[in-house]
Amino acid sequence: MAKVVGIDLGTTNSVVAVMEGQTPTVIANSEGSRTTPSVVAFTKTGERLVGQLAKRQAVTNPDRTIKSIKRHMGTDFKVKIDGKDYTPQEISAMVLQKLVNDASTYLGDRVTKAVITVPAYFNDAQRQATKDAGRIAGLDVLRIINEPTAAALAYGLDKKGNETILVWDLGGGTFDVSILEVGDGVFEVKSTNGDTHLGGDDYDERLVEWIVAEFRKDQGIDLSGDKQALQRLTEAAEKAKIELSTLTQTTINLPFITMDPSGTPKHLDLTIARAEFERLVSNLTDRMVGPFKAALADAKIDLNQIDEIVMVGGSTRMPLVQDLVKKLTGKEQLNQSVNPDEVVAIGAAIQAGVLAGEVRDVVLLDVTPLSLGLETLGGVFTKLIERNTTIPTKKSQVFTTAEDGQTSVDISIFQGEREMARDNKSLGQFRLEGIPAAPRGIPQVEVTFNIDANGIVNVSAKDLGTGKEQTITITASTNLSKDEVDRMVRDAEASASEDARKKEEAEIRNHASSLIYSTEKSLKEIGDKLDAAAKADVEGALAELQTLSANGTAAEIKAGTEKLEQASYKLAEALYQKTGAAAGPGPSTNGATHDEASAQEHTAPSADDVIDAEFKETK
């Protein structure tokens, strides 16, 4: 099926996105960037450039480079190049064509249909012009949607009941504030306002002015006329602005920025605190208040009627913008988890997916907030389903017994992120009985975890030998609140190293127990074929490890295990010398490795499922 893309055709930058499965994905352009400057240029050689390339040559070719054409959409403005007139829709079509071509390359399929966004304040002529631009670019424009509506869609706010949504959009060069109402999946723009010449670029400029002034104060040199220095300053200012969104202070470091008249190099090294930056730009920030109040008045709503706030545009990453919005609205919760540079295109892609029939409500996919698994030998928590796995899902793994003649296994089900079962939340347990008596490691018990679309967990254990099966259904796993889940994840992170140590200790003990078992078995089977000295060595190491297993520390057990392994190697050598390499059937030359190998062989239906876990003893 042909893909329908969503396009945010912006004043300074444009973005294209598409639904991949149930996930909207932003498509990078041929230069590898996720945003494309809305710039078109006609070179003197007659070549047409769009995006980053057009931007790079703007200084040398200003008369034939067209920026911000969106400001002229729906007017009879024309651009004259080489005696030919171009309409705003023709120029916009060139930007669209670049986006669509790059999207087609990415998708490996010609894109012919799109949803395009426009500002909420666009009138019919401007919307028609945008649609025409799409048509000129060879696109079937399925729908023109408002930018704030697209942003709200990206957050799934169409699924909410009747709500009032404030969309705060501070881009590179424009500020828009809109108030929407949503009900039954339909959005209505109640009011819109803004400032068409206010954006992140103004903030950068303020910072550059400050740097120039500081440098003049310190060094007595004016950088404002030095284009080369200014280029570096602008880049550094934007970087500093971005850093100040996460740090409370940052340094602007530009070595060899210029020279004094005597030719001595001068370096620029300034530190700026976030508070200082916020003071510098306070009157820019203040300019957003008026349009917001006007929009509120036009929508005829009170502050307390605002249910959701959506942040759009890269500049809303600045804490000062977020603080302003919180202060003005009295609300703490802002929708800002989706990349604000991409949120409009993502919303457009979701709308495109709906129109293409790709996004359906039949299956609402959810995730398991915590890992699910069972307790295995030594109290270790063996995860079958990792946290954040999309449900419904089903996972099986084959386990075996820990003791000779074990005829039942206990399945204890836990939920959580800790390494040891007892530190997690117990969801239930049951016992599978009637397993035919066999040496440890031989029975195969397949355990299956199944979480259905409603989050109900079914755990079954099946003895593959007899076909006997037991099942338990757990509904409690869905009862955890978000706080509980967060707490459990935090706990797991906090105790990660302690848990890892406990798990390692359990594994050391399991390994020792397995080695003791296999050595005893080997001694019983082939002991009489060994010379007395080698046998005594093995028996000595065995007895020592048995004692340590009962009351030694993990380190002691590990050392004892290694000692027994060494002794067993000698045992193996001795055996080979006696019987020859082509030893007949049966006797294992090294109990431990043989046993592990066979356990894996038996317990693993496929290599991916290999697990070194055994059930603990039940009786």
Binding site: K44, G46, V59, T60, Q231, R232, L365, I391, A453
Partner: protein, 175 residues
């Protein structure tokens, strides 16, 4: 001609399965298929997440390897600071730069040669123009910052000053 499909129930009712059980069977089948679809879709998501995790891990290990190679450059710069200004320090700095350049070259980073050539926005960004009588229009006069290529891809464009031929008339004559 009437086809027999128009009234099969009337002609031979007992040969047809009971409509109620037929419906039930169809519904059960639909339910099964819907469930399979849900599992399949969830699996796509899980495969996607796994692929993302693997990609993140690869990225991280790539960063680790690469950044590790950069540390000796920093070491040498810090060593240089321990010395007084002079010829030896210059030599040391030059050697450090040489080492850094070799490192970049071993990572397939190459320098772009742009000065004296016609300006090309594929590899350079114009930061200014300057009138010149001895150069053609649009020739790169000067490099304010070097540009680099990574393999066949542009790593960073050069920042350049471009020649503008001094002409009496404005440039709408066309080419």
């Amino acid at each position: 001609m009437e086809t027999e499909a128009t009234d099969p129930v009337a002609s031979e009712p007992e040969a047809q399965p009971d409509p109620a059980s037929q419906l039930a069977a169809a519904q059960a089948l639909a339910q099964d298929r819907l469930s399979e679809l849900a599992y399949a879709r969830a699996e796509i998501e899980n495969v996607r997440k796994r692929a993302q995790r693997i990609a993140d891990e690869r990225l991280q290990s790539g960063r680790k390897q690469l950044l590790g190679k950069f540390l000796p450059v920093l070491d040498n710069l810090q060593r240089a600071l321990a010395f007084e200004d002079g010829e030896a320090l210059r030599e040391g700095l030059n050697a450090t730069i040489k080492g850094f350049e070799n490192l970049l070259a071993s990572e397939q980073v190459s320098t772009l040669e742009v000065v004296g050539k016609p300006f090309d926005p594929r590899v350079a960004e114009a930061i200014a123009t300057r009138e010149s009588s001895e150069h053609d229009d649009d020739v790169v006069l000067e490099e304010a910052q070097r540009g680099y290529r990574l393999g066949e891809e542009l790593l960073r464009p050069a920042l350049v000053v471009v020649a503008r031929k001094a002409t009496p008339e404005p440039d709408n004559a066309g080419a």
